[in-house]
């Protein structure tokens, strides 16, 4: 596997107007082919960090590089190779599923043959091909999540960033997503995702980062961190008596 840094977060901090820090000196590196789980309790700073990585949230302290490009200075270059799936995707409700996917494919300038092939492949895998002609407003939460996932895969990103991707997915879809993540990882895609489901993280990730009150309190490969214990035990120990 090619050892290439796809995501590099260097001393990233995010402060609010009142001076409180949502993220404090966060440094994370994700290599090509890595699946990195980002775990922490509610409000620990996971989504704040993820939103900064994908260029949605402004930040002043630290630097974030994607595929060698700075998120601050070369936002477009970074976004071209990144895909983001938010925890609660707000899609255009009055477009049909296929209209939305076609829009994203247009944005990434994907040729017609490739887009048709990829949309069909993933829509079949998630079993929503028949519903793509319906308005997104008629979809369930899980179906919207599936459309958001397909839209993220259309341009075959180098970095896939997911915020709580398994919430709302049925067991079959969760399994499919995990399979897709493995497949992408083998192709050299870097995957960085937040989750509360420690079992999933333990089985899926080769690296884990634990964040508490905006600070990284533990990070490393799964083997280094767990040393024969379960991830749940490691996590609870890291969080101490909270």
């Amino acid at each position: 596997m090619e050892e290439k840094k796809v995501l590099e977060i260097k001393h990233y901090s995010k402060s609010y107007a009142e001076g409180k820090k949502a993220a404090d000196d966060v440094s994370i590196t994700v290599m090509a082919g890595d699946i990195v789980g980002f775990i922490g309790h509610n409000g620990a700073g996971k989504s704040t960090t993820i939103r900064a990585v994908v260029g949605v949230l402004d930040f002043t302290e630290g630097e974030i590089f994607i595929d060698g490009h700075s998120v601050k200075d070369e936002a477009i270059e970074c976004k071209k190779v990144t895909a983001y799936i938010p925890d609660n995707p707000d899609l255009y409700e009055n477009l049909t599923g296929i209209q939305y996917l076609n829009f994203v494919a247009d944005v990434f300038n994907i040729d017609v043959v490739s887009r048709e092939e990829r949309i069909k492949k993933y829509a079949d895998l998630f079993e929503i091909t028949d519903s793509l002609g319906d308005l997104i407003s008629s979809y369930s939460h899980g179906m919207k999540q599936k459309v958001a996932i397909i839209s993220a895969l259309i341009h075959e990103p180098k970095l896939l960033v997911l915020d709580e991707p398994f919430v709302g997915l049925d067991p079959k879809a969760s399994f499919t997503l995990k399979e897709i993540m493995h497949e992408m990882c083998k192709r050299g895609t870097a995957i960085f995702f937040s989750t509360h489901v420690l079992d999933v993280a333990e089985k899926l990730c080769n690296k884990v980062v634990i964040i508490k009150h905006g600070k990284i309190i533990a990070s490393g490969t799964m083997d280094e961190l767990t040393e024969g214990h379960s991830l749940e035990e490691v996590f609870l120990e890291a969080y101490g008596d909270e």
Binding site: G43, V56, I76
Partner: protein, 531 residues
């Protein structure tokens, strides 16, 4: 390329045609047809009014003022409406994360959002301008080039005021982004600006009044010309169509395009920073469990409605704007006197102010009843509708809670303003009491009629709060008949009050309006039972 793609998708994502084409819900489809028919009649009324206004101007010998008037009306409308919706369209919109994560420049997103806002409001502004062209053409019979210039420039007329309003909205957003209570700061700033806009006519007239011109029509014409000399785009439009001046055509088009480029270069620079700040909410995490108060279910829903309103700048500025204006009216009337206010409104025409006293409740209602929260609130539940729907309370109780909130919002302001106006106008106690009761029943009517409209045209799948608060069928259906009927009945009250005992007329109106409110209440209860 990406600019047009985004703009096209933004338009498609809120297009009724797209919903009609792909929705399988027959009810939804028939509502869309209904909305199109309603819009057709609304535009027809608006255009008819504009044509008649131009003909009236021609009859008064002021035909040459029509182009300036057209430019000013379109510009003021574009400015105020943009001011009230910039927050929801340009900043703090729902799909911000999704769009900003795609490879679009921040400037592209901001620019497309503006163009989307421009195109969505163009139909109303363009139809007004074209109607005034028809009115002008009937009387002036101009050459073909006037038609060409007028129609072409009608597309550009709203651009500069919309850009100005957007830039002010951007500055407000930038200022408020640094505060803890961002919504409150933005709302207060928007209110102040809108109040200035509403007073601008009187400010300009104060400049004109130096020579104590007695003739009201001449004063109106002077005020219009004076405004045009300050607001240059109106002058360019007028010169272009009256004198076939090509240089003014290029000036208006060129400045509009240049201003767009400059403003969105500036806005784009700090677009992400402002949105990040507006979307960030810190938690103080210092709450200590204390004794909680118990409320009735209706009051609990009303409180929830209050928090919903104060949590959204768009909703608050639209729903409470009338209340702010009417409070100002009450205070100003108390300070400078009822007669003086009437004199300002009638521009010094010889007029006995006491004869319009029976219209006091209608004047107050014009502001207080401008928007009813009940017309928007069923749709505003949006994705959160499950919260109320899953609670062990029936739809009638929910309706009562929502209605109660509108009464809590309108009745105190209505009472305060009617009392201020009555005290200032030295209205007898019995008459004042009747006006208060009349105001109260009108608030009840506004509440129940609003709920009928809100339930009838409930739409939960909106993309942006502006679609519900400003552009929904429910709001249009509520607002226009309510406003026109209020004005007509108010005028009739004054006329009949001169012929009959005005207390008796007020009493009859109280009974009639109360009856209407009751009918609307029953209708709304029937409708929620079916839901």
């Amino acid at each position: 390329m990406n600019n047009f793609l985004l703009l096209k998708t933004l338009l498609l994502s809120t297009s009724k045609r797209n919903i009609y084409k792909y929705s399988k819900d027959k009810k939804k489809r028939s509502k869309i047809i209904g909305a199109y028919i309603g819009m057709f009649f609304l535009y027809a009324m608006l255009m008819g009014y504009c044509v008649l206004m131009c003909v009236g101007y021609a009859k008064m010998g002021m035909l040459d003022s029509v182009p300036v008037l057209c430019a000013l009306i379109v510009s003021i409308m574009a400015f105020i409406l943009t001011m009230l919706k910039t927050n929801g369209y340009l900043f703090n919109f729902k799909e911000y994360d999704m769009l900003m994560a795609l490879p679009f420049e921040a400037r592209t997103v901001a620019g497309c959002k503006f163009l989307y806002m421009y195109l969505k409001s163009l139909a109303a502004q363009f139809s007004m301008s074209v109607a005034m062209l028809i009115g002008y053409a009937i009387c002036a019979k101009p050459g073909i080039i006037t038609y060409v210039y007028w129609i072409m420039l009608s597309l550009f007329l709203p651009v500069i005021p919309m850009l100005m309003a957007s830039f002010i909205g951007f500055l407000f957003a930038k200022i408020s982004a640094g505060f803890k209570f961002k919504n409150a700061v933005q709302t207060v700033l928007t209110f102040i600006l809108c109040i200035i806009c509403f007073s601008i006519r009187y400010i300009i007239e104060a400049f004109v009044e130096n020579d104590q011109v007695a003739d009201i029509l001449e004063k109106s014409s002077q005020a219009t010309e004076k405004t045009a000399s300050i607001y240059l785009p109106a002058k360019w439009f007028s010169e272009a169509v009256l004198k076939d001046s090509l240089s003014d055509v290029f000036l208006l088009m060129g400045v509009s395009i240049l201003l767009f480029a400059v403003i969105f270069y500036i806005v784009g620079g700090s677009y992400r920073q402002i949105n990040s700040a507006l979307k960030s909410h810190t938690a103080s995490k210092n709450y200590k469990m204390t004794t909680l108060k118990k409320h009735s279910v209706e009051n609990a829903i009303a409180f929830k409605e209050f928090k919903r309103m104060t949590g959204s700048t768009i909703y608050l500025t639209n729903a409470a704007f009338g209340e702010v204006l009417v409070t100002l009216l009450g205070v100003i009337t108390l300070i400078i006197g009822f007669d003086k206010i009437v004199s300002v409104v009638t521009q010094g025409a010889p007029f006995d102010a006491s004869i319009i006293q029976p219209a006091i409740p209608f004047v107050v209602y014009f502001f207080v009843g401008m928007v009813a929260t009940t017309a928007c609130t069923p749709s505003l539940e949006g994705k959160n509708r499950w919260i109320l729907s899953s609670l062990p309370i029936n739809e009638k109780t929910i309706a009562h809670g929502k209605m109660l909130f509108n009464m809590y919002l309108t009745v105190p302001f209505m009472t305060f303003s009617i009392l201020c106006l009555c005290i200032s106008a030295k209205v007898p106690v019995i008459d004042s009491l009747l006006y208060l009761i009349e105001g109260f029943v009108m608030c009840a009517f506004s509440t129940t009629w609003g709920y009928v409209c809100g339930i009838k045209h409930m739409r939960l799948d909106w993309e942006n709060e502006v679609e519900v608060v400003k552009q929904s069928s429910a709001v249009v259906l509520y607002m226009f008949p309510n406003m026109f009927a209020g004005m007509i009945i108010g005028a009739l009250t004054v006329i009949l009050g001169m012929m009959f005992n005005h207390c008796l007329i007020t009493l009859i109106l109280i009974i009639l309006i109360a009856l209407l409110a009751f009918i609307c209440y029953r209708a709304s209860m029937r409708m929620v039972s079916k839901k």
